[in-house]
Each structure stands twice: as C-alpha cells, then as structure tokens.
C-alpha cells in the first residue's frame, strides 16, 4: 500500500515538473519550436533558425526578405533567456 502511494506521488510530481517548464531550463531548440509559428506570421519573416549572436552564443535568428522596420521593432529581443537576432536573408527561392 505504501508503495502505491509513493508511486502515485512520484507520478504527480513528474507531471507537475513537466507542466511547469520554468523548473527545467528549456533548450534553445524547444524555445525556437514553440515560438516559430508566431515569428513566421510577422510581415516579412521568411525563416527562423538557430545561429549565433555577436558573441558567438547560440541565438534564435529571424530571417527577413528585406528591411521591415516595424517587424524588427516588434520582435522580442530575448525569448526564454535566448537572444533573438534579425538578419536580412532575402527572398529564398528554389534554385
């Protein structure tokens, strides 16, 4: 009986941990994946990937087809602790 109670408590704890992401630091891949649809919905955004910032640290890189001052101003600078940087990558075409 005690074992069953312990098992249930453990399951509840694990579920709680999964539900509250802030207890486990998210990877940059997870952060990128959870935000990319909204980022790609902004005017002029053609790509979202993982690159590096000026200091060489991993960063979320938002690619624009051309300069879009409004989009650039509206984009977050940081997402869940990871830097967000914009880059003019141009219109991407099949070659």
């Amino acid at each position: 009986m005690k074992r069953w109670v312990a098992a249930i408590l453990l399951c509840l704890a694990a579920g709680d941990l999964l539900a509250n992401g802030d207890r486990m630091p998210l990877t940059i891949e997870q952060v990128k994946a959870s935000h990319e649809r909204e980022l790609l919905a902004q005017p002029g955004v053609v790509s979202v990937g993982i690159g590096r910032d000026d200091q060489g640290r991993p960063a979320i890189v938002v690619g624009l087809d051309k300069p879009h001052p409004q989009t650039q101003a509206a984009l977050p600078r940081v997402l869940d602790g990871y830097a967000v940087r914009t880059e003019i990558v141009g219109t991407i075409r099949a070659r």
């Binding site: 891949e29 990128k32 990319e36 790609l40 053609v46 790509s47 979202v48 990937g49 993982i50 690159g51 590096r52 991993p58 890189v61 690619g63 003019i88 990558v89 141009g90 219109t91 991407i92 075409r93 099949a94 070659r95």
Partner: protein, 331 residues
C-alpha cells in the same frame, strides 16, 4: 646552347614526325629538366602519355636525344583531354554537372547513391521531377534542356522516385468565407445558440526535403566522382560552424560553413507557389540558380546535405539524413 629561334625552327620542322610517334601527345619549346631540376637549356619538349623504358619502344617510336644539335626532353603529362564544362554532355557524368527532367531548365547532378542495391542519381524533386509535375519513368537529360540537352541523344536516366513537395496556399483573406461566417454566427445569435463558427485556412504540411532519384540507363554513363572534390568519404552530420563544400552546375566548387541549423523557412517555387521546410541547414552565399541538387560535403568529404534553395546571401540545404530516410537510400 641553342637559341630560341633555332629551337623553334627544329620544332617546326620535326613536330609532325615527333607527334607521329605512338606515345607523344604534345610538342613544344621548354627548358630541359635534368635530374628533376629545370636547367637554362632550351629543348624540344615532347610530352608523352606515359614514360616507358627505351628498350620497350620500337626504334621508330623513340624520341631522339637531340635533333640537329638541339636537345629534346621527354615529359610525362598523361593523356590530354579537352576540359569539358559542367553544362556540356559528359559520359560518364560525374557529380556537379548539368542535369534535368525533360520539362525543366537545368539543375545539378548531386551524386550517386544506392537504393535496394541499385545505383541511382540523387538530385532535387524540382530538378528530376519538375516540382511534383512528373511521372515515374520520365526521361532525365544530361545536360539539362537549357544547356542543350535533347531527346533521345542526351537521355541518361529515368525518374525512379520523388518525395512530393507540399505547397501552401498563398496567404489570402477570403472575403466570401468571412461573409458566410458572419451570416452563420448572426443566425446562431438569433436562435440563442452559444455555438460560433470560425474560419480555418487549410495549411500545407511542412516539408523536410526537396529530393528525387533517377535510375541511370547504363551504369557506365555515370561516375562516382564529384567534379573538383572527388569521392564521398561517408555520411556526416551538419552542425553549427561545420565547413561545407559543394560542386554545382553554375558556380562550380564553392566553400562556406553552416551559419544556422534547425531552420524553418518559406521557399518560393515561382508562379506564386511557396513551400515551408523545417529542420534545414543554412549557409552563406555559395550557390546560384542551376546549383540545385548539388551534394554538400563537409571538410572531410562526408556527405551532409542536398542543396535546393537560396537567396543573394544565403543557401538552404536539406539534411542528408532526412533525404536518405525519405527515399530509403544508402551510399
């Protein structure tokens, strides 16, 4: 020592006879090389396909030690071939040359791969399968049609398989749908129902690869080499900063590195068609139109990707692991 005029005169008089010898492929004027060092002595230089011991040559095929006082020199250069360009017909065709489905312009022959033990040509869907608009068995030309490839002379392979590209609808606010929804919801309110209708735009599925394979009609018509790179050393995995090289129809051998991974990107396919790709690799400017289908290798010649798209300052590459698993391929 013989002067230039004198050596030129000997060359002019004797060149036809020298070139008639079985092994000589070229003649000219050059400084004589003795014991591996270039001397200041002018000579009639005879290039041969392969140096062989004098005794094994018939007397008439031997290059004399000197011609009327002018020394000769025998240099091994190998057989001299015209340098075929990437947009010309080549048999066997290596990776890096022009190829394409009958109804397209041209792309690049990436490399050879295997499917169920059979050798296949790997390139993009939009190169070998005309962006989904093709049938298995369709003719593949080398060079591609825009480079003068014609049926039946330049037929090299038949389309074997392609991964269909899922194209999205161009974003549009449908006025008709909005009007209908407003009408439905007005009706719901009128009858006191708490149900409300919403518009959903049908979204295309995300793509991982733009890839296809073609079955060469003759094994002897294709080569395992990639122009200016050589043989593939194995499979690799692209990471941020991995050095890259590719050999393509338009820009030839170019090098760069992976600047972004896990890239989700919208790619334009012309005529308003757009497709979204996920888990792509991005590099800088290392390609132009016509380079699509190039095999992308790392610095150790391991295959890491398949080039398919780009802009003025970026190149987009499918991960080779997705290409191989989608088509069931091996090296």
């Amino acid at each position: 020592m013989a002067q230039m005029d004198e050596v030129r005169a000997r060359l002019r008089d004797h060149s036809p006879k020298l070139l008639g010898r079985s092994n000589v492929v070229a003649t000219g004027v050059g400084y004589k090389v003795t014991a591996g060092k270039r001397t200041k002595e002018l000579s009639v230089a005879c290039s041969v396909a392969q140096k062989v011991p004098l005794e094994s040559l018939a007397v008439r095929d031997r290059v004399p030690q000197e011609i009327d006082g002018v020394p000769t020199d025998v240099i091994q250069t190998g057989v001299i071939r015209a340098l075929a360009t990437r947009t010309e017909r080549q048999r066997p065709a290596p990776g890096g040359v022009s190829i394409g489905h009958r109804d397209i312009t041209a792309g690049t022959l990436g490399c050879l791969v295997r499917k169920n033990g059979q050798v296949m040509i790997l390139s993009n869907n939009h190169v070998l399968a005309n962006s989904n608009d093709a049938q298995v068995g369709d003719p593949i030309l080398q060079p591609g049609p825009i480079d003068g490839g014609k049926l039946p002379a330049d037929l090299i392979a038949e389309l074997q398989q392609f991964v269909p590209i899922s194209f999205g609808e161009p974003p549009s606010d449908c006025k008709f749908a909005s009007g209908m929804i407003a009408l439905f919801n007005a009706g719901c309110r009128a009858i006191g129902s708490r149900t409300r209708y919403r518009i959903y735009r049908i979204e295309a599925a995300d793509n991982l690869v733009d890839a296809a394979i073609a079955h060469p009609l003759k094994a002897a018509d294709v080569s395992n080499d990639i122009l200016d790179i050589g043989r593939i050393a194995g499979l690799g995995r692209g990471e941020l900063g991995t050095p890259l090289q590719k050999s393509g129809r338009t820009t030839g051998l170019t090098r760069d590195e992976i600047t972004q991974v896990a890239v989700t990107v919208n790619v334009s396919y012309g005529s308003g068609r757009e497709a979204r790709f996920t888990d792509q690799l991005m590099a800088g400017a290392m390609s132009q139109g016509g380079d699509s289908g190039s095999a992308v290798l790392d610095g150790d010649k391991r295959l890491v990707g398949l080039l398919f798209a780009g802009s003025d300052n970026s190149t987009i590459i499918n991960r080779i692991e997705h290409v191989f698993s989608a088509l069931g391929l091996s090296l």
